[in-house]
Symmetry: C2
Subunit: 350 residues, 2 copies
């Protein structure tokens, strides 16, 4: 979706340019880390710092993946694995929070009470256990049916518990010797980058070629998606198997999640080769983020419905909620194929 | 959507042409009635005859409504009320059957078992009570979850019972003196049509004018529909209030049901003025039939979920099914706005 453009480092080697890029990302990583440790009781500040830390970790990890042929492969794979562990650990708390917001908002919408103030979703201070059953959704009352109110309270209880655990795990990870080793490796990235012989090649040609490989993988993965079906609104594809015993729903989501991952990798590779973001790719990525969030939220509703001894009205509301989120999954696929068609129509594929 | 066209009865009065049209419809009505009474144990034949009987009754009733200014109003209103009673009584059995097919098919689709043979949906012979719990859905097993299987069995039990009652009511109605009075009135329609003075006017002008009034009512009702919103796929409008305590969902469906009714009235008025059907109007009508069927099916799923002492898994499956059918409601609205845009783009409005 882009033709390699001569960057401003005409005479630089690929290794030089990659080192410069990783240096920038490592700087952002270490800055976020300092902000996080300084945030103290400022939970919003800590969350923002954690988000920036995850973002830098993903970008560094993406560069290590895309430009692996220019690096010592064992070293690159090891650091990439550690950065993956870090991002995943930090991401969990955020995803619990956004899943809760998404599901409680959906319950409000389905109950015609969208005007009600949004439930409290800030991370719980460490060590403060949320009172079971004391959720905001349960207190709303009003036009909410008993089932929707109970479903909201159940989801809030489960997701608050998961978020508290994720928060503790993230704090534990950031204080661990494993994390300090990752931070040390990142700090040394720019100065002591272990390069492979191919890194001596000209920057534009070598980096552009490797970025094109990443793009090709994305294009191939998109070509495998059922975009023709997704282009037909209300095709009811996302809810097929919605009540099946085997988790076939996850199977149909997997190729879309893979495209989301490859799209991000492609965006990061582009950034390394040519600074600045592509708004179309960025928006397509957001759409696939929604796809994954809705898929995970629908699974959270289905999982909550398997709680023993819940009332039928609660289970009914969770069933409606599950289907609602599966339709958001389908809506995201429809939006993605529109974005993609728009993008490929605007810029000829390489 | 049509400009009145000179019909072949250039010199006829409006009363003559209307009488001829009603004569044709009355003939169809009486033929269907004879077929029905001759069908005996042939349930498929009886169902087809009942369908044709309903169709004629609706057409006669539609003509009495559209061309009321040409008729003795008290007589027209009385006969129209009786025909309405008859159609409603005969329609109930059919709608129970199609609702059961729709819901069991949807459960199969949601369970990934669409290849399984469709459940038995023929009307039960009079007096034969279906065995509770012995439904086809319960026996399917396989990939169906326990909840989906139980939900299917519950719906089959409830709708079979409702259908059996509707069947008995229809048989009772067809044997009643009230029905014989309606049949007598229909038989006398053509020969003794009680006309008003306006019926002496020229056929084309008067009938065309009254048909245009019906069309104008349709256009006004369509203009009130939220077509702009319906044109955005996945707007999630149909499931808003899906879990609300008050039945607000029915309120949002009502304008669409009204357009469906007016569209049918318009089609029947067109038939009286100019024989032959308009395929676009016909298709738009089918789409609104689906809209109503899905709305009623979603309500049947919600209603079944209120059965006391059902298992949470059953309630969950009914929740998914309810939401699925509400999305079919939304899909029908999307399809209708496309049909309508197509129709109004093809033929300039009068």
């Amino acid at each position: 979706m882009h033709s390699p453009e001569l960057s401003r480092h005409d005479t630089a080697t690929a290794g030089d340019t990659l080192a410069r890029h990783l240096h920038t990302q490592a700087g952002a990583f270490l800055r976020s880390l300092r902000l996080h440790s300084e945030s103290g009781a400022d939970t919003a500040g800590a969350a923002e710092a954690a988000r920036a830390l995850r973002s830098s970790a993903r970008r560094i990890s993406g560069s290590l993946s895309t430009f692996r042929p220019l690096l010592d492969p064992d070293w690159a794979d090891t650091l990439r694995g550690e950065l993956g562990w870090l991002s995943a650990t930090l991401a969990l708390e955020h995803s619990c929070t956004s899943r809760m917001v998404r599901l409680l908002d959906a319950l409000s919408r389905l109950s015609g009470t969208s005007a009600v103030p949004r439930a409290r979703v800030e991370p719980a201070p460490p060590g403060e256990e949320p009172a079971p059953g004391g959720g905001t959704a349960a207190r709303r009352g009003g036009a909410l049916t008993v089932g929707a109110a109970r479903a909201g309270a159940l989801l809030e209880r489960r997701l608050t518990l998961a978020r508290t655990r994720a928060h503790s795990a993230a704090l534990g990870a950031l204080g661990s010797s494993r994390f300090h080793a990752v931070a040390d490796s990142v700090a040394l990235l720019a100065s002591e980058l272990p390069l492979a012989p191919a890194a001596a090649g000209p920057a534009d040609e070598v980096l552009g070629m490797l970025a094109d490989v990443t793009e090709r993988r994305l294009l191939d993965a998109v070509a495998e998606l059922p975009l023709g079906r997704a282009a037909h609104p209300y095709n009811a594809e996302a809810l097929v198997n919605g009540l099946a015993a085997d988790p076939a729903a996850e199977q149909q989501d997997a190729p879309w999640h893979e495209v989301r991952r490859l799209l991000r990798l492609h965006r990061y590779a582009r950034e390394a080769v040519r600074p600045g973001d592509d708004p179309v790719l960025c928006h397509a990525g957001l759409v696939l983020d929604h796809h994954r969030e809705a898929a995970e939220a629908s699974e959270a509703a289905a999982s909550a419905a398997r709680t023993p001894r819940i009332a039928p009205a609660t289970a009914y509301a969770l069933g409606v909620l599950h289907a609602d989120q599966r339709h958001e999954v389908e809506a995201a696929r429809f939006a993605f194929q529109q974005e993609w068609r728009h993008a490929t129509a605007a810029v000829p594929a390489p």
